[in-house]
């Protein structure tokens, strides 16, 4: 799930150079929308999940169209300041979404209706069926993304745009369409991750900051813009947190991964698999 959340985050950085600090807000919005669709409209577990993913997709496109794109196009902002403007704008946009969620749905945690109920015994460990389903969905979606990027024409255009935007343009790739596509893919990925997280642990408006920080940690650790690096970093962070929670305390689960991030930034600033 960490990998799924961070993959989209690193994809839009790789292609359009945007670090979207409203990432956590999109995930939480997806989960809360799925919860609301089910509790208020009796949309059911699949219906609720679909509403959640759609919400994230729409918010992602709004983020690009109303927040990021105008700054990228603005002639009033100097080029060297553009990135910091986008960082600030997406951060503020995320806070706005967070406050709206708290205002309309309270800041109490919400949980999304699981797709599968009950538990099964895996190697003697009682495991909720929905957790196994969650893991399968995450792998399937990551696999589908890999196929899309590496085995389809449109995916190769995305890859080309991330490596050399000017070269891709010269080859006839329309960058503006690629950007919209990448933000749409990102919206769907963040939506699926948010809905699954809502089923697995539950989320509240307070989750916005930690979720953004978690994705940020993973993509920096993996190497900014490297999808494979993000996948690797997601597993490192996920297992490190789980081991800490079991062996020391759930209260300290974030410390080792943050410490590791600091170490990587000192010793290997480009991240585990980042390009120089």
């Amino acid at each position: 799930m960490y990998a799924l959340g961070a993959t989209g985050f690193t994809l839009i950085f790789g292609v359009s150079g945007v670090l979207n600090l409203s990432h956590g807000a999109l995930m939480v919005a997806a989960a809360v929308a799925a919860w609301a669709a089910n509790s208020a409209l009796s949309a059911g577990n699949f219906g609720g999940a679909a509403v959640g993913i759609m919400t994230s997709l729409v918010l992602s496109l709004i983020t690009y169209g109303l927040i990021v794109r105008p700054i990228q196009k603005s002639t009033a902002i100097r080029n060297e300041e553009r990135e910091i403007f986008i960082l600030t704008a997406t951060l503020l946009w995320g806070i706005m979404i967070q406050e709206l969620i708290a205002f309309f749905f309270t800041n109490n945690a919400k949980t999304v209706l699981p797709i599968l109920v009950g538990v099964v015994s895996v190697l003697g460990v009682r495991t909720p069926r929905n957790e196994i389903f969650t893991a399968l969905i995450c792998w399937l979606v990551i696999g589908a993304l890999w196929l899309l990027v590496n085995r389809t024409r449109i995916g190769k255009s995305v890859l080309a745009a991330s490596m050399n935007p000017r070269g891709a343009t010269l080859l006839g790739v329309e960058l503006s369409r690629i950007y919209v596509l990448v933000w749409a893919i990102y919206g769907v990925l963040a939506g699926i991750a948010g809905v699954l997280l809502g089923m697995f642990l539950g989320v509240s408006s307070y989750s916005v900051g930690p979720l953004t920080a978690s994705a940020f940690t993973i993509v920096v650790l993996g190497g900014l813009g490297s999808v494979t690096g993000s996948l690797l970093a997601a597993f490192v962070v996920g297992y490190l947190e789980t081991i800490t929670a079991y062996l020391i305390s759930p209260a300290y689960r974030f410390f080792p991964s943050l410490f590791l991030l600091l170490l990587v930034m000192y010793l290997r600033p480009r991240g585990l698999l980042g390009r120089r």
């Binding site: 109490n108 949980t111 009950g118 539950g202 930690p210 209260a251």
Partner: protein, 419 residues
């Protein structure tokens, strides 16, 4: 003379006209506008949290009821609400504004102990009555006992954690030990100011009630994954989990149900007291047992059910625990203002100390000066006792004490009870 007569008549006419217009104004204007200052109550609450959101609504409901009956000795009650975003800093700013700019005579503030503890010195500095409808830390009343002259403006309109722990143990003795033959427990509490004295109380009174405490786990309120905690607890094989949850509630409850942890949950769970909890947990609350002061359809006093129904009619859900206490607080502040015959803070304090009011949660009386919990609520005996509720099929069912119970305990199939 003519002139004088004319002048006299002119003055007479003006006086009559003014009298008539005054009389007319008196007819159409409520009595409080005739000259008396309104009784201004400020509400500082966590309007975005499921527990705290009941506070402003309940306060306004009480004020509307009192105003509809003519106010307090002709004074209208005016409510000003401030959303503190669960922040102590925002609360302090709101308190300062309430007193200095909005001229509040009394402040009803927060269900979070950390927030109330931050406001307590400000109530002392600004000499303004403050009552909390939901914070529980014992330190609030201990501060008053330490420095009564400064801190006498603070009143604890909800139970102290130690009193709550003691009442929960009373219930556990009847329900867990006698009815379900439980002998052991693990305490799981969030790490917060209110749970420190609660856990101390649990650790003393549970063994006295016949329940051995196998472990005591405190977790950060930021915790989202409770799997390691439940695994640890399950390995200890306790008969019951005793809780101290307020800032969390939905996530540990949902994970308890989804992971089918076979140990029943009883104790304090503030979020579970609101009727929205069932939807927030998608029904995972089934079987959760918690202690509370009141709940829907429970006639603790003749005021209880009418208030809960009026609240539900107006806001579309039943209030959380601090909604009941906040509602009562407006009434006994109004009574105190009547007794004091003044809105002077010191006179209000003296009048509030004489409170003997049967509210929605029971008989409200404050402990006197000299008591280690001065200005805390009197519990047990003729005071407040509380009750125990359980979520059953989307409804809150009272299961203890027997004179208030409207159902019996039932548990989800994955819960294993002692044989």
């Amino acid at each position: 003379m003519v002139f004088h007569t004319s002048k006299h008549k002119y003055v007479q006419a003006v006086v009559i006209a003014l009298s008539m217009s005054g009389g007319f104004a008196a007819c159409i204007t409520p009595a409080w506008a005739a000259g008396k200052e309104p009784l201004r109550i400020a509400v500082i609450a966590e309007a975005q949290s499921v527990a705290g959101s009941s506070i402003p609504g309940a306060v306004q409901l009480a004020a509307d009821e009192i105003n509809a009956k003519g106010g307090v000795d002709g004074r209208k009650i005016e409510i000003t609400t401030y959303d503190n975003h669960s922040s102590a800093a925002d609360s302090v700013r709101a308190f300062q504004r309430a007193v200095s700019e909005d001229h509040a005579n009394a402040v009803i503030a927060s269900y979070v102990s950390e927030v109330v503890l931050a406001l307590e010195p400000w109530a002392a500095r600004l000499k303004t009555v403050m009552i909390t409808p939901g914070a529980a830390s014992d330190v609030i009343t201990q501060n008053i006992a330490k420095d009564y002259d400064s801190n006498k403006y603070t009143f604890h309109g909800y139970l102290t954690s130690s009193a709550m722990g003691s009442l929960i143990c009373d219930a556990a003795k009847d329900m867990a030990v006698k009815a379900l033959k439980m002998k052991s427990a693990v305490i799981i509490s969030e790490d917060a100011a209110w749970t420190t004295p609660l856990d101390d109380s649990y650790q003393q009174c549970l063994p006295a009630a016949g329940i051995k405490v196998l472990d005591h786990i405190r977790f950060s309120p930021d915790t989202t994954d409770f799997t390691p905690i439940y695994n640890k607890v399950e390995a200890l094989k306790p008969d019951v989990i005793v809780t101290g949850w307020s800032h969390v509630g939905v996530q540990p409850t949902v994970q308890w149900q989804s992971q089918q942890v076979p140990i029943p949950i009883i104790g304090r769970s503030s979020q579970a007291t609101n009727s929205a909890f069932w939807k927030d947990t998608n029904g995972a609350a089934e079987g959760v047992i918690f202690w509370d002061l009141n709940g829907p359809n429970v006639a603790v006093t003749p005021r209880s059910v009418p208030f809960a129904e009026a609240y539900n009619k107006k806001f579309g859900n039943y209030p959380s625990y601090c909604g009941y206490t906040a509602y009562d607080e407006v009434y006994f502040i109004a009574e105190a203002a009547h007794r004091a015959g003044s809105l002077d803070s010191d006179k209000l304090v003296t009048a509030l100390e004489q409170t003997d009011f049967v509210g929605t949660v029971g008989r409200v009386q404050f402990l006197p000066k000299g008591d280690p919990h001065v200005h805390g609520l009197r519990t047990g005996g003729s005071g407040i006792k509380g009750l125990v509720m359980q979520w059953q099929k989307g409804k809150l069912v009272t299961v203890w004490p027997s004179d208030l119970a409207n159902g019996q305990m039932t548990f989800p199939s994955f819960v294993k009870l002692p044989r």
